[in-house]
C-alpha cells in the first residue's frame, strides 16, 4: 500500500495488575500483567479513515493512546510520517511533529475544562505551539468555531452552556487548533444521541475532505464504522483478528469473530437478514485463552487453535481460514 502515514509495528502494551507486594509475598503469587495490546501491526494510509472495532476489553482504546503517545508502548514502535515517535516522551518530540497528531475523546463532558471559556480551551494549543499571537489568536479561534459549525461569539461561553454535540464540536475545534493532520478519535459519538451523532459524523467527513485529514477511529459501533471507515481492523483481546477494506469486511467477513459480531447487529431496517445465535462473552484479558484467544467461543476451533497463535496473514488471523476449513460468510445485502 502506498503513502503510509503512520506505521504501527508490533506494538504491545502491558499493564501491571499485580496485587500489593505484601499480599503477593504472603500468598506467594507472581506479578500479574494484563496485555491490553499484543503485537499489533498496522499502517495508516494518508487521507484514509482506519477504524478499529472491538468490544469492551479488546484493547482498542489502549492502542489509540499508544498511537498518539499518551501511553508508551511496552514493545514495538510507532512511526508518524517517517519519524519514530514511540520511544520519546512528549517533551522530547519536536513540536513540529507533536502538534500534528491530536485526539478527540469519548466524553465531551470530561474532556473540556469546565472552568475555562471555550475561547481559552481552543486557544491553548495555539499558544502552546506558538502558531499565532495577539489579536490573531482570537481571529483563529473564531475561524475554528465556524469551521465546526459554531459561532465565533461562542468563544466567550463556558462548556456547560453547550449540549453534548456542541461540546464534541468544541473538542474537534481544539484538536484542529494546532493544525493537526492526524486525528485519533476514541468513540467520538458514543456519548451522543443518534440525531446528534449524525451531525458529528457528517462534520468529521466534511472536515476530512476540506483539510485532508487522516483519521484513526475507535468504535464499538459497527454501523458507525461502516459509515466512516476506509479500512477496518477488528480487535479481540488485544490482537487484530481481521483487517480489510470496509466494504469487503461487511460483504464477506472472514474471521469467525467478525462473522459473530455482524450476526449480533440488530436489524434496524427489518430486512429479515439471516442471523446466527451469538454465544458467550469476551473472556477476562488478565488470563486470556491460549493459542487463538477466540477459540473458546469459536465453532471451528480445533487442537491447533488451542495451542498456536494464528498470524495475521492476508488480512485475517485464523487457522481455520488459512487451512481452508471455513469459507467467508456471504452477507446478502438486501435491495
Amino acid at each position: 500500500m502506498s503513502d503510509v502515514f503512520v506505521e504501527i509495528d508490533a506494538v504491545s502494551r502491558r499493564f501491571d495488575v499485580s496485587k500489593p507486594l505484601v499480599t503477593r509475598l504472603i500468598h506467594r503469587e507472581p506479578k500479574q500483567y494484563l496485555k491490553a495490546v499484543d503485537k499489533v501491526s498496522l499502517s495508516v494510509v494518508r487521507g484514509e479513515t482506519l477504524a478499529i472495532v472491538g468490544e469492551s476489553g479488546s484493547g482498542k482504546s489502549t492502542l489509540a493512546n499508544v498511537i498518539v503517545g499518551l501511553l508508551n508502548a511496552s514493545d514495538g514502535s510507532v512511526r508518524f510520517d517517517g519519524h519514530l515517535t514511540s520511544e520519546k516522551s512528549g517533551r522530547e518530540l519536536a513540536p513540529a511533529i507533536r502538534r500534528r497528531m491530536q485526539m478527540v475523546f469519548q466524553d465531551p463532558y470530561a474532556s473540556l475544562n469546565p472552568r475555562w471559556r471555550v475561547g481559552a480551551i481552543i486557544a491553548e494549543p495555539i499558544h502552546a505551539f506558538d502558531l499565532a499571537r495577539g489579536p490573531d489568536v482570537g481571529r483563529r479561534v473564531g475561524e475554528l468555531l465556524e469551521l465546526v459549525g459554531l459561532h465565533p461569539d461562542d468563544a466567550k461561553r463556558y462548556p456547560h452552556e453547550f449540549s453534548g454535540g456542541q461540546r464534541q464540536r468544541i473538542a474537534i475545534a481544539r484538536a484542529l487548533a494546532s493544525e493537526a493532520d492526524f486525528l485519533v478519535c476514541d468513540e467520538p459519538t458514543s456519548a451522543l444521541d443518534v440525531s446528534v451523532q449524525a451531525q458529528i459524523l457528517n462534520l468529521m467527513k466534511d472536515l476530512q475532505d476540506r483539510l485532508s485529514l487522516t483519521y484513526v477511529l475507535i468504535s464499538h459501533n459497527l454501523a458507525v464504522v461502516r459509515h466512516m471507515a476506509t479500512r477496518i481492523g477488528v480487535m479481540y483481546l488485544g490482537r487484530i483478528v481481521e483487517l480489510a477494506p470496509a466494504h469487503e469486511l461487511f460483504a464477506t467477513p472472514r474471521h469467525p469473530y467478525t462473522q459473530m459480531l455482524l450476526a449480533a447487529l440488530p436489524d434496524v431496517r427489518m430486512t429479515g437478514r439471516a442471523r446466527t445465535k451469538v454465544s458467550g462473552e469476551i473472556p477476562s484479558p488478565i488470563n486470556p485463552p491460549t493459542g487463538c484467544h477466540f477459540h473458546t467461543r469459536c465453532p471451528h476451533a480445533n487442537a491447533r487453535c488451542k495451542s498456536e497463535v494464528p498470524a495475521l496473514l492476508d488480512g485475517v488471523a485464523c487457522h481455520a481460514v488459512h487451512e481452508g476449513r471455513i469459507a467467508p460468510m456471504r452477507v446478502t445485502a438486501s435491495a
Partner: protein, 330 residues
C-alpha cells in the same frame, strides 16, 4: 398486535411535574398508551424525551420533587397512580417487575445472588425458604445461567456483565409479574451480549405471556424486540404504532429524521441525514409542537398549536382541520 378486550396496562394523559422556582416543568406531558397482555411495547427517544420518567411514574418510583401531575395509570382495570406508598410497594415487584440499566447498581454487591432472589421471592409469595430456593434455581435456569446449582451462591462480582444482567432479569421475575418495565436493559452491554439479552426478554415474554415495556434509545433493539412502539419527543408521544410501520414508514418528521440518522451496516450513503439542533431543555420548551424549531416541514400553526395525537401521529401535517384553518386564515 390487535388489542383484544381490555389491555393489561392503560396510561391516560399522564403528566409528570417537577416544581421549579418560577415554573412547573413537565418532563412528561400528556402521554397516553396501552399495553396488551403478552405484548412488548417499546418507548424510544433520545435523552430528555421523558421515556425513563414515564417508566418511573408507572411504578411509582419518581425521584422527588417529581410527581404525577395528572392523568391515570390503570393496571388490569384498577387505578394504581393514587395508591399509598405501602400499597405501591406491595404491587411493585409482585405485579410489575423492573429491569434497570446497570446490573452493577441494581444488585447488592455484598449479598449472594441466591439470597437476593430468595429475599425477593419470600417478600412477595407465601413460600418457605426451601421452596423459595427451589424457585430461585428455576429462575436462574430460565434466564440461561449455566450450572445454577453452583452459581446461586456466588456474589454479583463473580458474574460477567451479561450474566449479571440475566440475574437482574431473574430478580424481576421472582413474583411472576404480569408486566415488566425494562429501562435500557442493553445499554451497558456489548453488542454480542446485548443481542443475547434482547433474545431472552423476547423469549420470556412469549413463554410467560408477560407484557413488557421496553425503554431504550436504540432503534435496533426496538426493531428486534417490540410489537408496538411509541416514539417520544420532549415529553410527548410523537408517533405510536405497530413496530414495522413506525420503523419502515415513519410519518412524524421527527420519527423520519430519527430513522434516517441511524447509520446502518447495510447502507452505503455518503452522508447521514441529520436533524438540525438538539432536544429542547425543560426550561426552554418551544410553544406549539415542541419539534417545530427543528422541523423542515414546520408551518405557522406548528409554533402556535400543540398537535393532538390522532391516528397514531401527533403532527399538523396529518390533521386536516388545522390545514383548513390555515387556508381559511390566508
Amino acid at each position: 398486535m390487535a388489542e383484544t378486550a381490555r389491555p393489561l396496562l392503560e396510561v391516560r394523559d399522564l403528566t409528570v411535574e417537577i416544581p421549579g422556582d418560577a415554573h412547573v416543568y413537565k418532563p412528561v406531558d400528556g402521554v397516553s398508551f396501552s399495553v396488551a397482555a403478552g405484548e412488548i411495547l417499546g418507548l424510544v427517544g433520545e435523552s430528555g424525551a421523558g421515556k425513563s420518567v414515564t417508566g418511573s411514574a408507572i411504578i411509582g418510583l419518581l425521584q422527588p420533587p417529581g410527581r404525577i401531575g395528572g392523568g391515570e395509570v390503570i393496571l388490569a382495570g384498577e387505578r394504581i397512580d393514587q395508591l399509598a406508598p405501602r400499597q405501591m410497594r406491595r404491587l411493585r415487584g409482585k405485579r410489575i417487575g423492573l429491569i434497570a440499566q446497570d446490573p452493577l447498581t441494581s444488585l447488592d454487591p455484598l449479598m449472594r445472588v441466591g439470597e437476593q432472589l430468595i429475599e425477593t421471592i419470600t417478600t412477595h409469595l407465601p413460600l418457605s425458604r426451601n421452596e423459595a430456593r427451589r424457585k430461585a434455581l428455576g429462575l436462574l435456569e430460565e434466564v440461561g445461567i449455566p450450572d445454577p446449582e453452583r452459581r446461586i451462591d456466588a456474589y454479583p462480582h463473580e458474574f460477567s456483565g451479561g450474566m449479571r444482567q440475566r440475574v437482574v432479569i431473574a430478580l424481576a421475575l421472582c413474583a411472576d409479574p404480569e408486566l415488566v418495565i425494562a429501562d435500557e436493559p442493553t445499554t451497558a452491554l456489548d453488542v454480542s451480549v446485548a443481542a443475547q439479552v434482547v433474545e431472552l426478554i423476547k423469549r420470556l415474554s412469549r413463554e410467560r405471556g408477560m407484557s413488557v415495556i421496553l425503554i431504550t434509545h436504540d432503534m435496533g433493539v426496538i426493531a428486534e424486540a417490540t410489537d408496538r412502539v411509541a416514539v417520544l419527543y420532549a415529553g410527548r408521544i410523537a408517533e405510536i404504532g405497530p413496530v414495522r410501520d413506525v420503523v419502515l414508514t415513519p410519518r412524524h418528521p421527527y420519527a423520519q429524521g430519527l430513522m434516517s440518522a441511524i447509520p446502518d451496516v447495510e447502507d452505503t450513503r455518503e452522508r447521514l441525514v441529520q436533524i438540525p439542533g438538539t432536544m429542547p431543555r425543560l426550561a426552554a420548551m418551544p410553544t406549539g409542537c415542541a419539534f417545530h424549531p427543528r422541523c423542515t416541514h414546520a408551518m405557522p400553526i406548528c409554533a402556535q398549536v400543540q398537535p393532538p395525537l390522532v391516528d397514531g401521529v401527533a403532527c399538523h401535517l396529518y390533521s386536516p382541520a388545522p390545514q383548513a384553518a390555515i387556508a381559511g386564515a390566508a
